[in-house]
Amino acid sequence: MAVKLNRIGLEPQIYKGGKTTLCAGCGHNAISERIIDAFFEMGVEPSQVIKLSGIGCSSKSPAYFLGGAHGFNAVHGRMPSVGTGAMMANKKLVAIGISGDGDTGAIGIGQFVHLMRRNLPIIYIIEDNGCYGLTKGQFSPTADLGSKLKTGVVNDLPPIDTCALAIELGATFVARSFSGDKKQLLALLKAALAHRGTVMLDVLSPCVTFNDHEGSTKSYAYVKDHDDPLEEVSFVPFFEDISVDYEPGSTQEVTMHDGSKLYLKKLEEGYDPTDKIGAMKRLHETARRGEFATGLIYIEPDRDDFLEQMNLIDEPLATLPLEKVRPGREALEEIMESLR
């Protein structure tokens, strides 16, 4: 049987990465698989992709997808700056950053904040399990109040809601999903690839080794029971000629910057992910109930991203020829004259 090729003629195999060294059953591996599917289905050229990460279990995972893409496993909590530099150097690249809840919410909160403010074109994924895996299970800043460690220690600090923070700070695509929800996660990832600007995707991704027990609010069982989807997300890329029929009023249609369409089938009255204040209210309400609102929480499809604001030349800065980047003799002479 012939292998299915994507729209740029590549096989699925090319989108795979190295063999994972994470624990069997780790939610992060499921996320890697969805990333592979999304990049394959959207027909993204792997050699144009950069994979970025900080430090932690999550940050190892870029080695396990898109083997043909360049990757940079940076220092703890500082992946946003490395990604920002790389995208300034070459705005034609597609950036995907993988972080964790500690890498983002603790050591990296400063860089996270400023990444969201800048609306850099990047897909920023938090593989969120509420604990530090590589250092053996300490709480992270997204651990919920009252959640219990295996050792019996109870978390008595409020969690940082990275989605609420991202919306507040100016991210233009904010979503939450669950590593166990294949359909929703894939649709959101594909939509993320169609978005221009910062995509902040918090994916609840249970740690099977340190945080999957009774009393934990980030266990598979707990997340499954408390997943509160805002809508049913369907994504139709611009290159697919599919029309979706829906009953008027039942579905919200969002046109992405590249012409792709998001169809958000409403599961409740009145939720509108383009309404910033409504989105914040909904996040707080869900959290108060001890649940997780998942799906597309907030989107602003048309805002200029960081690189557009810089009015950069079309070609990547990295490879501009010398004559474009070294002013001529007359320029230097003019400067010298002004100093005499």
Binding site: S47, G71, F72, V82, T84, H114, L317, R326
Partner: protein, 629 residues
């Protein structure tokens, strides 16, 4: 000694009126934020326009407005542009410091002062010129709000008359300084003239100091090192800049922004050929630089000591993952906040070994504004050739003061982007490994995202020659040894020292950076005053090149001259050199926050050589203030 002791020195010697032409220093004491910088730069430039070699040094507080500030201008017919310790001519505009400023002058000095301060009562061995600034400024500046700023220009007019500076040249300097602000030019010209007229009508020249026309400054420019470095970066083809404001480096990036907006907008499209971002901190600045360099851009940041500290972790990543980065360290004083507006060379060791584990970096050290310009270009070439951070070690004195220089030459060398893997090279190599030493020089070939060459996973964790994750002991050692090989190769690429060997000299002086100017003058003093002959090596880079060891071997005693407390360069030399060589090394250290001066070096060397050094009542070492947090 307390300042009052100085008031009862021997009677002044003003009877012997020998003229002192083109060889004295002027200190202007004002209040920070009073607009005195314009007046001081006009005075500086007008001396330059008289053809007289000149230098200016700003000693300012960490403050927006209100605290005392001093500006020193030195005219030197012999071309000395280092700091001169003694003040010959004081312009006392600041009531808060006026008394101390006057009490610490040497006998015979001249003082222009604001009349109500009644400074003439303090000493009888100085020459005093009282000037009623407030009375003079009112008629020439109807707008009372502007008077505080304009009154400074009056002392320029006074000084022009007293020193013999051509008023039309001073007006030219004023126009240059204020540019196209026609209204401001007219207003200030009025103030200049008012000062001149007052001096002509009311002051009798009693001091010996004069500026007479020379022909030593034709074609010279006046520029701050930070601006010079910025021009160098632009000509080097920098494309990505990330920075965080910190004194004394901010003006490097701010100048760069100005130049880039003017000269680096693509003519065809009107779009920028650069991206400059003010980051959230220095950590992010270096992170952005590393990300940009990894993705193939020529990228840089500029900072000072506290920023260097913050960059530690990322510096290690760049060293180990092997990404280029150009980091300007405009050094200032102290651990922690220290004296943020004063100068030092105190980051030598921390920059050389910045980060944890076994890490060492290339440093290049400019001494002049011209070298700020050329070494900025060298830095990018070295960073890309060696795929590693390169630190350009400037200091506040160089970066933020105006220096006289020849005009900069257009770069004739093409840029060196180092070993980027090409399709042809790949065919020749057969197999590519990101960290494989193909050429035996320790430098591997790299690829960049989007170049269609093989991809790799850059990481700060252990990796083998192919760039794969590895914790194997042999992989780690092989990689670290290759990095050492790479560093050794750098010895043959970095700027060589400038050596002046003097026949018969047993003493060698070793210095770097801005100490150069004081060292040159000190060597003249040593030769002329005591017949001590010295050779001189000006170091321009770390790792050291062979010239340094040879220079040590060729002399009996070596004085390593540094502007820090802990003899940091000497410590660095001790790590490399044999006990025989180290035994010859001595230190001359200067670390009070002021630029090093020739007399301090001369006295220190002579004392260590066993000479009797006149312990003359050194007035206060310089401008400074206490309190007022």
């Amino acid at each position: 000694m307390s300042p009052t002791d100085l008031a009862v020195q021997e009677q002044h010697t003003s009877g012997s009126q020998q003229r002192v032409v083109n060889d004295f220093s002027i200190q202007v004491a004002t209040v920070n934020g009073s607009g005195s910088q314009t007046a001081n730069l006009v005075l500086l430039r007008s001396i330059l326009l008289m053809g007289v070699p000149v230098s200016g040094k700003n000693m300012f507080p960490s403050n927006i407005a209100g605290l005392p500030t001093w500006y020193t201008i030195r005219a030197s017919k012999r071309g000395y542009i280092g700091r001169k310790k003694e003040v010959d001519f004081l312009v006392a505009m600041n009531p808060e410091t006026a008394k101390e400023d006057v009490l610490t002058l040497e006998a015979g000095a001249a003082v222009v002062y604001d009349e109500p301060l009644k400074l003439n009562a303090l000493r009888n061995d100085l020459i005093f010129y009282p000037v009623p600034f407030d009375k003079l400024v009112a008629p020439v500046c109807p707008d009372a709000k502007l008077r505080r700023l304009v009154r400074n220009m009056i002392y320029d007019g006074i000084m022009a008359k007293l020193l013999g500076i051509d008023l039309s040249l001073m007006e030219k300097a004023l126009s240059k300084q204020l540019g196209r602000k026609a209204k401001a030019v007219t207003l200030n010209q009025g103030a200049l003239k008012a000062g001149w007229d007052y001096a002509e009508a009311n002051l009798t020249k009693q001091d010996p100091f004069e500026i007479q026309p020379m022909n030593e400054t034709a074609g010279k420019i006046l520029i701050e090192g930070n601006a010079a470095a910025a021009i160098g970066c632009m000509m080097a083809g920098v494309t990505v800049v990330a920075w965080y404001p910190i004194t004394p480096s901010s003006s490097l990036c701010e100048s760069l922004i100005g130049y880039m907006k003017k000269y680096r907008i693509d003519k065809e499209t009107g779009k920028a050929t650069f991206a400059i971002v003010q980051a959230e901190d220095e950590i992010a600045s270096l992170g952005m630089v590393i990300g940009a360099s990894w993705a193939g851009a020529r990228s840089m940041t500029a900072t000072a000591g506290p920023g260097i500290s913050l960059m530690g972790e990322f510096a290690g990543l760049a060293y180990y993952a092997e990404t280029p980065a150009v980091i300007f360290d405009v050094q200032r004083v102290g651990p922690s906040t220290g004296l943020p507006t004063r100068t030092a060379q105190g980051d030598v060791l921390s920059a050389a070994f910045l980060s944890h584990g076994d890490t060492k970096h290339i440093l290049i050290i400019p001494s002049s504004v011209e070298e700020c310009y050329t070494m900025a270009m060298d830095a990018f070439d070295l960073a890309e050739r060696f795929q590693t951070p390169v630190f350009v070690m400037m200091d506040l004195d160089l970066g933020m003061n105006n220096w006289m220089s020849d005009g900069f030459k257009y770069p004739e060398k093409p840029i060196d982007r180092g070993k980027l893997l090409t399709a042809d090279a790949l065919k020749k190599l057969g197999e590519w490994g990101r960290y494989k030493d193909v050429d035996g020089d320790g430098i591997p070939y790299r690829t960049i995202p989007g170049d269609k060459m093989p991809a790799y996973f850059a990481r700060g964790s252990g990796h083998n020659a192919k760039g794969q994750y590895s914790e194997r002991p042999d992989d780690y050692v092989e990689n670290m040894d290759r990095l050492t090989r790479k560093f050794e190769t750098a010895r043959t690429y970095v700027p060589k020292p400038i050596v002046d060997r003097v026949a018969g000299a047993k003493i060698g002086l070793i210095g770097f950076g801005t100490s150069h100017w004081a060292i040159g003058e000190s060597r003249d003093q040593l030769r002329e005053e005591t017949d001590v002959k010295t050779s001189y090596l000006r170091l321009r880079a770390y790792p050291f090149t062979t010239e340094l060891g040879e220079f040590i071997d060729a002399h009996d005693r070596l004085y390593v001259i540094e502007q820090n407390r802990d003899a940091q360069l000497l410590q660095l030399m001790k790590l490399e050199y044999s006990p025989e060589r180290c035994a010859k090394l001595r230190s001359v250290l200067h670390y009070n926050g002021l630029p090093i001066d020739a007399r301090s070096i001369t006295d220190d060397v002579l004392a260590q050589e066993g000479y009797e050094v006149a312990t003359k009542a050194t007035p206060r070492v310089g401008a400074g203030m206490t309190g007022g947090e």
